[in-house]
Symmetry: C4
Subunit: 266 residues, 4 copies
């Protein structure tokens, strides 16, 4: 198995000007809720899976009492009579460190180019100290043009400069690494409560409204709260577990690292 | 020396539908006690050793006052008149991080395929807050079929979903990575006391009962307590030492480090 | 993308006996202030950019509300009627660890040799417990000759032995790795306040005086304070942000982590 | 530059059944004091230097106010009319982690074989809670034969089993990795005070007595205390500095690692 491995689980479709929507675990799991919800409602099909030696070295027990490796997956949905088909990036985890995150994102972009991806939307949360009543959706991106286009008619706020620190992980790198490839990319970042246990459903709804309007998903958002309780419970459980394990794993690594300075013989 | 190196110490035997039993250090050392005990009682022969640049960079002093490198080893036992010969994975350590754990497990599975391994059993502990009176053995695996087969007549409990977090290390990855290779694998996880110094002999006995019954080892478990004191003392000492250099001392140093200021030139 | 990637953004100029001046983030950001100020005042042109899988895996939002990847860049300036053209190394970050720092510095030196670099100046701060009234500039280097030459007429102090610990990062490695390549290199290290939030403008001015005198930049230093407020604000913000994701928050989490128990299955 | 690079600084000599003596930084710097003292007294010549991308990414300022990269070096001494010539391994640092320590030790052993090394002596300290009045020298090794030979007439104690934990770093790995190559190796470990600032000169003297007697160095140990103050001051300074920096560096790495779990956007 290579550093990042791709396994196709469906025949490669011919997609019409596809847009990639990224929704991996992160603050409030805003991106994950959005991506998983779209996949569910549109009955998107799984296209390929990523594995990596740099994913957590563990398996979890699923609701069928069978084990599963941590995965990042890409789904697709042909949108008849729309301008763009969809590719959706979802998963249990984010790559664990700098190198694996760069390697993963570059590999993903290679495949995006193969499918002729025209645009990328990454989704994340902005962690606040308290639960926001009506979460604002902010945006930034790698070109003025895509930002202007998404702002039009949605009221999203592009004034992020000075408001947030760096955008970390795949959500951030996808914006940066797609630029030299000439793929316009935008990040939709919803305010949410920054507590590790908080699920940013409200923020996710605001992001979904924006995407619904601009891409035309025709999804009924009323189901979100209902769906979330049944649909996301399992998936979020995994994410939480892997998050715990990768904390532990990072911790173990640091202990390993620090052991060289401990009292030893030699 | 490669990332993971294999050195054969015996001529490759022709094995009859072998089952691999994994028992590396972990919670309560349940797996290690089981594997070491079976190797001892069946007088299994050492077949090959793994070394790795990612094992601890240290040696320990054995009971002969000679040094030994940390090792992971595979033993085999031809089981005359039984359906399956045995391969047993035992050792002082687990690979230290994500990458080395994936690389090790993949290498091990390559060799499993070479020997035509038909089934894999991994063994671990589930750490409880107190010493369990009669430890329950739980199971999970990569197919419904193998779970059903091992449950039959043993009373082991497959309801692990929601009971445990991820299964970490070789014990977990062996289940996950054997699946795409088409090798059925099951984990037998015994309850034990989650204290780092506790030796899960009771849990190990429950797991041994299951294996004894399903595979037919004909091992007398009455010896376990007796044997354990002489047999395991040395081996567990090593495991504890290697575990300690990566844990205990690091903790102390870590606290110290936290007080330090890092002011340097640059 | 390779471990370290170089992307030229201008046609390779033919430079006249160029001197490389390094000014990456560090103590008091003395080096960064100097390099960014020279680039601004001399209107130096960007020549190439470094990217690396070992840079922070994140993007920041700039003053145009667009994202940017963390970058290290080289600028050049043809100095008509002077003995030496200039190459200037500036950026948001330093490579994150030993290996990436060595790899980066070696790559940089390869390019230096390509352009026939005759001399290297690295710039850093020496962190004091208090704000120095008149910061002393110290120097060290990889040959007696270059030190003697820069001391002449500038009053910089070469008595660094016993005064400072190791010089860490690119600022240090450039001195060490250029020596076997036969490139003389000097470090100019100005006293500054060692507080993470302190901007060593005073120390930077003293270093600029030395460089101005020895290389003849004809820069008016009176503008430094004025310029700094407009020019550096943005750039230093980035540096601080990138530095923060690897520092401040880690500290908090670290303390939390220390309380956690790591009980897992395996 | 490769992972580990070797640079010869003298013409390869033809050595007579050489013994390698290792004395890198460690507990009480016992090994380093012994190796540096032998090199000085025998006027051993430098043969080659190791560099590595995994050494600390920093330089120190030496007593001539010039910078130096961290180095590990091998010296040699032709011992006329003796049975064995000498190779001496000395340096400012130990490789920083598992992989670089294995890679370094394997590279070193490759060169040992090239020179026909017949025997290896590694030297270390055993850290006690208090300053020992008369430090005992313990030994262990990779064969009964070499231990028996060195015990004869020296009174060193081989009963290390249960007394010490793992022997970490080059001092340990040299014993373990030389065994499959068929090179007998012994560790001489002197009791010393386990405080980071304590210099184990007393323990070093006891080790020197053993080596003096068994190999016949004809070194006058009376000079040790005197020499130490002038000779070692500079070298130990470096070691201490690099030790601090590699602690800091390890600490930075862990912060880097932990930053993925901190509150970020995405």
């Amino acid at each position: 198995m290579d550093y990042v491995t791709v396994r196709y689980v469906a025949k490669k479709p011919k997609l019409n000007n596809p847009i990639l929507i990224e929704g991996l675990p992160g603050i409030g799991n805003v991106g994950k809720v959005v991506a998983d919800f779209i996949i569910e409602k549109l009955k998107a099909k799984k296209l390929y899976e990523f594995s990596s030696y740099s994913f957590p070295h563990s398996v979890f027990v699923n609701e069928k009492n069978l084990i599963e490796l941590p995965k990042i997956e890409v789904y697709y949905k042909e949108m008849k009579r729309k301008k763009h088909d969809l590719l959706l990036l979802a998963g249990d985890i984010q790559p664990i460190d700098e190198e694996s995150c760069y390697a993963f994102t570059d590999k993903l972009l290679d495949i995006c180019e193969e499918f002729g991806v025209k645009e990328i939307i990454t989704i994340g949360g902005i962690g606040l100290q308290a639960i926001p009543k009506k979460p604002t959706v902010f945006c930034t991106g790698n070109s003025k043009e895509i930002i202007a286009r998404y702002k039009k008619g949605t009221g999203i706020n592009e004034k992020l400069y000075g408001v947030v620190g760096p955008i970390v992980g795949v959500t951030g790198l996808l914006l940066g690494l797609s630029e030299p490839r000439g793929i316009p990319a935008i990040a939709l970042l919803a305010e949410t409560f920054g507590h590790p246990m908080y699920l940013g459903v409200k923020g996710a709804r605001e992001v979904l409204k924006v995407i619904n309007k601009k891409i035309g998903l025709n999804i009924n958002l009323k189901d979100l709260d209902k769906e979330i309780s049944s649909l996301e419970k399992e998936m979020l459980k995994r994410t939480e577990e892997f998050s715990n394990i990768s904390k532990r794993s990072a911790f173990k690594k640091l202990k390993q690292k620090l052991k060289e300075e401990t009292s030893y013989i030699g």
